[in-house]
Amino acid sequence: MAATTELQKVTIHFAGDSGDGIQLAGSQFTNTTALQGNNLSTFPDFPAEIRAPTGTVAGVSGFQIHFGSVEINTPGAEPDVLVAMNAAAFVKNIKNLRIGGTLIIDESGFDKRNLRLAKLDENKNPLDDLDPNDYQVHRIEITKLNREAVDGLTLSNKEKDQSRNLFVLGLVYWLYHREMETTLTFLQQKFRSNETILEANTRALKAGFHFGETIEAAKRYTVSKADLAPGTYRNIVGNEALGLGLIAAGKQSGLDLFFAGYPITPASDILHFLSRHKNFGVKTFQAEDEIAAITAAIGASFGGSLAITATSGPGMALKGEALGLAVMLETPMVIVNVQRGGPSTGLPTKTEQADLFQALYGRNGEAPIPVIAAMSPSDCFDAAIEACKIAVERMTPVILLSDGFLANGAAPWKFPKSASLPTITVHKATGDNYQPYARNENLTRQWAIPGEAGKEHRVGGLEKEDITGNVSYSASNHEKMVKIRAAKVENISDMYAPLELIQGDTTGKVLVVGWGSTYGASKVAVRWAREEGLSVSQLHLRHLFPFDKELGDYLSNFENIVVPELNNGQLVKILKQEFEGNIHGLNKIQGLPFKAKEIFEEIRKHA
């Protein structure tokens, strides 16, 4: 029997054809691992096509998980284990596999046809060229073995092969001492209406697991429970956390949640999630386009709901005009942009942070809208609540930025009790002589909702007179209103919790300032740098507009500011508008998240 080695952390990359069920295997491994108490972070990466051409590199679907007993902030850089179901998956990923790592191969994915499709010489199996000292290679006839495992079931070969992912999952479970329980339960749920398929998948999983015993693997590994803070945990992906946050905000504000969206990758899952939870009083509206979605939300907001719309970059571009209306109406709503690779249709299934400029400036006239960003899958929950809180308490549209990496990435989440969530106070109109554009001390106007007698009033997109809200073409009133709207949004920074460093001292050589999904990679990079003794600190911005009041002070205490972004330099430009100092952009525009190493190296340059 193989000996078991204890590891602190492991990165596994599952890769195969998009039809191979890689995402399912990955997410099952994730759930099981989470339940076994490890810390983890994942990164699913799949083609834009529903079924990209079989066997080609373009058709490879990947799922990477990084898990451990220690803190885990990124999905890992160089995998320790690569599972490659065919030649294309091998070609695409082998360069990343750590030297000394484990390679698990389905031999049947390396026949002539597969080699050709992967644009390799069909007469030369690249596996034969691997230096046995480089990797631990398991070349397994998975397809064949799996067919044997499900033998006797009345299934076509094609159907039989569809359970191969479970076979390989079983094997990896065995290798890393995972329990099969969670997945078995999951399969029972999923295939409850088809016993044969259920049986096939169950058998495949178990066969893979037991096959572990037979392979010449020298070792098995185990990864102890992470030393997580005490509490109750669950595993969560960003889009689900975001949806949960919206439902929570509905509850906290006492408002009905109204969500309008038009499907778009990678935002659609928010719509899907909410549409499954109507018993929370949630109404979901699949609109005919993004313009209809945001304007339906405006209507619902006018009608007194907590109104939300979610989209991605191209859809956001269509919402610009309506955002201007929301600014004029000063009505609460949240607009979520789950960013993806642009410009235009771009790289629809890849991640990017290139819509910050659009969020800040993508509409006509002076139309300030608060912009906040989530920084991890579970943070999508908090960010959603904060966005709603700002929107409702300050009567304004709020833009919430997420991205493809957060949307689909998973991490354990020490979730809160609902009793501990922030309260959200609705600014309802009171008193007799309602003036729609009268304001309180922080410049917020009162919300009078159709159905309330005596508060009938008209709003609209033309400039409006201060206090009364009547249409006004007065020159001085216009300037006044532009300034009031700007000041009102500026004031929102009053609501923020104090800005705090993530790591390091308040003064030093380098400050890494990130936003959004770069959080994890920055955290690791800064930790490494500090472990090397470099004078580095980390700040991470939830609030892109308006900035935290303390931001300037922080920046002024460092010699160099490094701003990692998955774009061509956007926050870095915005910072330069307002602050002095040596502000350096670190930019990656590859549709992929940062590796900690990339940030670490940039830190080195400036420390």
Partner: protein, 334 residues
């Protein structure tokens, strides 16, 4: 301070100066709306007018109710969101031929298909008024306007045919110059449960004066218009002429020439095919039908939406936030 049933037209008039050109047909529509409202029994606080952009779209400012003068073409979606949020409101969309059929075409057809209980009043003046006189999607072919100095080459929409094609459940036509007719249609639109699409011929006396004179002029009106009444034969020209169906072909017949009233087409607004034929009575050689061309029954969107919420609560119980946050697979670290 809920409004009671003894309101008058004046109670629905806001304190804002009305800013249409003197002589504009919009005045009359506003007046009829304000006049008919007290009869509808809608409390002022439950009444909402949503408009887009255009001369016509200034309408909400003049109504002492809730209202929104929104952006160009999107009133149908705003109204949908509003109605979804609060099905108890009486929601009216006021739009123009540009606002509703040009930029807002998509929003309009999807509203009709979904059948929210919303009343859409499309003020058709066959021109863009507010932008000072370009042809619109309803302008006559060949019209000379600022943007078509050599004549428009755009084949116009037939708004009612488009609405029927888009699954509308209530389709009607009225005109600014016939207050009694308009009040009747407004009332019927209000009564219809589902989206009511009402095209109102409206004279823009500045940029397209006389576009509908043929139908509104006292002298010509009798012979150019067909007043539809459910269950009644299609008569015009003061009862001297009638419309009969020759197979599919509407045929104009002179009653004194031996045709009996019994042979005439009896208006049945629930008949989709006949509604189609009426909508296509659109040329110069036939009288133009006014009134309710079609009224059908279909569930309203807001109700179906609310029903799903209610059913879901019934089936699963009112959502427990803590349960939801916890999910199905959680674990405890001690």
């Amino acid at each position: 301070m809920s409004t009671n049933n003894t309101l008058t037209a004046k109670d629905f008039s806001s304190d804002q100066d009305v800013r249409w050109c003197p002589g504009c047909g919009d005045y009359s529509i506003l007046k009829q709306m304000q006049t008919v409202l007290p009869e509808l029994g809608v409390a002022r606080e439950n009444l909402v007018f949503i408009s887009g952009i255009g001369c016509s779209s200034r309408f909400p400012y003049y109504m002492n109710s809730y209202g929104m003068h929104s952006i160009h073409g999107r009133a149908p979606s705003i109204a949908s969101g509003l109605k979804a949020a609060n099905p108890n409101l009486s929601v009216w969309v006021v739009t123009g031929d540009g606002d509703g059929l040009s930029i807002g075409g998509n929003q309009l057809i999807h509203l009709l298909r979904r059948n929210f209980d919303i009343n859409v009043l499309l003020f058709n003046n066959e021109i863009y008024g507010l932008t000072k006189g370009q042809y619109s999607p309803t302008s006559q072919l060949g019209i000379h306007t600022k943007s078509s100095p050599l004549g428009s080459i755009d084949h116009p929409f037939n708004p009612l045919a488009l609405a029927l094609g888009a699954e509308a459940t209530f389709v009607a036509r009225s005109m600014d110059r016939d207050p009694i007719h308009m009040r009747d249609i407004l009332k019927k639109a209000h009564e219809h449960k589902g989206t009511s699409f009402v095209e109102i011929y409206q004279n823009c006396n500045v940029f397209n004066d006389g576009a509908f004179e043929k139908f509104t002029d006292k002298k010509q009106k009798a012979s150019t218009t067909l007043n539809l009444q459910a269950g009644e034969p299609l008569l015009f020209d003061n009862g001297e002429m009638g419309v009969r169906l020759n197979g599919f072909q509407p045929e104009l017949v002179k009653l004194e020439e031996g045709y009996s009233i019994n042979e005439l087409w009896i208006h049945d607004p629930t008949d989709t095919t006949k509604a189609h034929l009426l909508s296509r009575m659109f040329g110069d050689d036939v009288p133009r039908p006014f009134g309710v061309l079609y009224e059908g029954k279909r569930f309203t969107y807001e109700k179906a939406m609310q029903d799903q919420v209610d059913a879901s609560i019934k089936a699963k119980g009112l959502g427990d936030l803590d349960e939801l946050i916890k999910g199905k697979n959680s674990w405890v670290v001690e």
